[in-house]
């Protein structure tokens, strides 16, 4: 048996309110309150999100500004004289001591005595003073130096026979140019 849906009352919002079950009415009220609370919470969260976004934009702006400053520093033109001076100082400081000493050690035989080494960073030149008992050993030493990959040109600058001792000692000076490492 079905219900008869016959009602002569005109439709109105108030009628709808009275026709709803009290439980439904309370549920609707509770739902509305919850919606309101949720709205408040959402608004608060959105405001927080907004402020965070603003902060992020601010930080990004600051980072961009900082980057721009760095770029501008790099772009300022440098005085040519100053540049050469600075470069010379840097080159002097950047002597490849380890490589030079390793190469020398590898090339120097027992028969040759090293007296002094003087580097000239501006010309990448190493002035070596050494002694040996014979000229043959000196020639051997020169070729050994030339075979080192570090040194490019190796020249014998001068040689003399030291006479202060009984057996003649050959004192000689070599200029070796080392290859600059690629910057």
């Amino acid at each position: 048996m079905k219900r008869l849906h016959i009602d002569l009352a005109p439709f109105s919002a108030r009628r709808l309110l009275y026709r709803t079950h009290p439980v439904v009415r309370w549920l609707v009220l509770v739902a509305l309150v919850l919606c309101f609370v949720a709205g408040l919470r959402a608004q608060k969260l959105l405001a927080r999100l907004d402020s965070l976004e603003r902060e992020a934009v601010h930080i990004a702006e600051r980072t961009a500004q900082a980057a721009r400053v760095r770029v501008s520093v790099a772009r300022t033109p440098i005085d040519a004289k100053q540049a050469t001076v600075v470069n010379a100082a840097i080159a002097r400081l950047n002597l490849p001591w380890d490589d030079i000493l390793n190469a020398l050690e590898a090339a120097t035989p027992h028969q040759v005595a090293l007296l002094s080494i003087t580097p000239d960073a501006s010309r990448a030149l190493l002035r070596i003073e050494a002694e040996s008992s014979s000229s043959e050993e000196m020639i051997n030493y020169l070729t050994a130096l030339q075979q080192q990959p570090l040194f490019g040109r190796v020249d014998l600058v001068r040689n003399e026979l030291a006479k202060d001792r009984t057996d003649g000692v050959l004192r000689f000076q070599i200029e070796a140019q080392w290859r600059r490492a690629a910057p």
């Binding site: 048996m1 219900r3 016959i6 009602d7 009352a9 005109p10 009275y18 026709r19």
Partner: protein, 322 residues
């Protein structure tokens, strides 16, 4: 300040009004409910009033009487549940057209059916129905003057019409769950029995016809009722019922013989709200009687407290309600 504010919030009052309209009379019942605890339900206020003839009186005049009745029970601003006596309503069954596609088709079918049955133009009546496109449905027609008057009266008192239903429809909606497929429902009111004939079986059961039987005297015997019901079943080509549920005042002659004799049994639909009998004995502050001798208008007079509710007040109580 408080005095100025208080009349502005009648909506906070909980409670409702029940109106019953019958030929020449109206009854209003105000039921108060407290905010917490139904146990402290106050005694309902009752007012009754004679009405001018519906056929001649204007809607405004009727509305004024209805509004005055509402005033007597203090029903200003309250939701109103109105019940029409079955005598004011014409029930009929409408079969929807085969090719009907729209609501207008159903309305037109109802109008044609009404004109065919009663020989009056349907435009002069207000037709309401349980619109169904798939099968025959119950429709009822009411005088538009009465309908308008009721709306006007409730509007004048800033109330709200929540439900307006004819007595049989209200009773059916209240009891339809308890009806078995071989049972019929009838409403009894002032020597008129309105019977809903049920056709179909089990799940497909529906109201096949609504017939009105006039009682020959106050308490006709059960035999008469059985004869009438069987006749109605034969006329409408449906199986007679095993049980007839009657909604309305009880008739002792029908009840006593119901248990031992074979044939159609009669059971009474006692209102679900047990307060109804107690209501008759509780203190009613403004009891009026619908007395033929009393003039139209001044009817509300304090009466003996044990006066049982009149038939119309019973109708108001047991009709459309939340």
């Amino acid at each position: 300040m408080r005095k100025r504010l208080m009349p502005a919030v009648p909506a906070w009052r909980r409670g409702h009004c029940r109106l019953a309209l019958s030929h020449g009379a109206v009854a209003a019942l105000r039921v108060d409910e407290r905010w917490f605890g139904a146990a402290r339900k106050a005694a309902p206020q009752l007012a009754q009033r004679l009405l001018p003839d519906f056929a001649t009186a204007a809607a405004d005049e009727l509305a004024a009487h209805l509004a005055a009745t509402l005033d007597e029970v203090g029903g200003k601003g309250l939701p109103v549940y109105a019940t029409f006596d079955d005598e004011l309503v014409r029930y009929f069954i409408v079969t929807p057209p085969q090719n009907g596609a729209r609501m207008q088709d159903l309305r037109a079918a109802a109008g044609v059916r009404f004109q065919m049955l009663y020989g009056e133009p349907a435009s002069a009546w207000h037709i309401a129905a349980d619109w169904q496109a798939g099968g025959p449905f119950v429709a009822c027609a009411i005088a538009p003057r009465l309908h308008t008057a009721l709306q006007l009266a409730v509007k004048m008192r800033r109330g709200c019409l929540v439900a307006v239903a004819p007595n049989f429809v209200a009773a059916w909606n209240r009891w339809h769950r308890r009806l078995a497929s071989d049972a019929w429902l009838a409403t009894l009111q002032c020597r008129t029995l309105t019977v809903g004939l049920v056709t179909g079986t089990a799940r497909r059961a529906r109201i096949g016809a609504v017939r009105t039987l006039a009682l020959p005297d106050e308490r006709p015997p059960l035999v008469w009722l059985r004869e009438q019901l069987e006749r109605a079943a034969l006329l409408d080509n449906v199986a007679p019922p095993a049980v007839l549920h009657v909604h309305g005042p009880q008739i002792a002659a029908w009840q006593q013989a119901a248990s031992d004799e074979p044939g159609i049994a009669v059971r009474w639909c006692t209102t679900g709200n047990a307060a109804a009998p107690a209501l008759a004995l509780s203190s009613i502050s403004a009891v009026g009687t619908v007395d033929a001798a009393s003039s139209v208008g001044a009817v509300a007079s304090p009466f003996a407290q044990t006066t049982p509710l009149s038939a119309l007040a019973q109708l108001a109580w047991s009709g459309a309600a939340p």
